[in-house]
Point group: C2
Amino acid sequence: MARTQEQRKAETRRRLIDAAADLFARKGYAGVSAEAVADAADRTTGALYKHFGGKEGLLLALLEVWKEETVEVLTAAFERMPALDERLTAIWRSLNGAQGRRGDAWLLLEMELWLQGVRDPVMAEPLAERYRDIRRRLGEGLRDWAEQTGAPLRHAPDDAAALVLGLIVGAAVQHRLDPSTMPDDLLLAGLADLIGTPSAARRQPD
Amino acid sequence: MARTQEQRKAETRRRLIDAAADLFARKGYAGVSAEAVADAADRTTGALYKHFGGKEGLLLALLEVWKEETVEVLTAAFERMPALDERLTAIWRSLNGAQGRRGDAWLLLEMELWLQGVRDPVMAEPLAERYRDIRRRLGEGLRDWAEQTGAPLRHAPDDAAALVLGLIVGAAVQHRLDPSTMPDDLLLAGLADLIGTPSAARRQPD
DNA sequence: GTCTATAATTCGATAGAC
DNA sequence: GTCTATCGAATTATAGAC
């Protein structure tokens, strides 16, 4: 049946991308052979080359899937959590792999793909677009929060999103090396400084 | 003369490390062969293996040199610049390679070494120590600044340093992909939020 | 201490069977 | 669409000349 064939094809594709995500994160794109990816996916290099044309095609496909997953995680964080602190904590948790399907490989894959994107012109645009998506979603969330609570943002939503994303990423980089230097409450206090939340900044209206 | 021999040996070592810094940043550690590093340094793999034992030894030596260079850059920024804004801008500039001997490779090498350090237990400790050094130096600078100006820090010096470093790193990651999303004045405003500078936060004393 | 030459392995990519 | 088999190129690391 054509349906079964198509299912198998889709599963092979998914398995290869999942294996690539795991291996690229743990060993780096250049440090992993196409055969190693195929083995981890219980397939062969033949299938990999038919689907993606080669290792670079697999990397590009992974980046596209990664973009979609990121938006899903962000959306879930904003839809399920009521308070801003909880939303930001959910994003922080997923980046640090405390939960989520990528395990603790999220941040590593984040940085690996960033490096590849900065180095390879072909990957630069999709990667830049991914960061634009993240900031847009984050900016909307902050704007909505400000409207609903009546608390003023310290910066324009786009700017606030860029700063919040920046601190979260930079905090995660340090947290991975030494968790004690970036406890949850310190990060949340820093984010509150950037956003303008009164509770942390004790800011007086002017 | 023994002196000339020693000079030549030291130069070979320096040339190999410089070439490694440039190539590892631009193509990644796993993406560069030992021979390519030797060629770029106008030496051969034989010399590389005698000095460092292999590619991994070269990477470790590079990390040590990198640690020293980072402290030098930080110290220079804090000693030559009078105002806090200028000091932070100097750090920002060196990370983004607007100046300094590493050119625009600083941030790439930063992330490349971070990834290798997170993946390889042998490199984890030196890398974590480097970040501790940076935070310590940054924390001292912030504490001194607060004492001299009488302006209160919003967080303890260590915490403030971790937040400031975090935002600078995360801002640089975004800036590299799309400079327009992280202009200098936005970053400085964000840093002022974290530090507690009145001019940006318009914070009232309490 | 540095170079040339090379051994042993592994890589990306392809061809052809099923 | 997937697998087996394999080619040519590139890689790490070593051996021996100077």
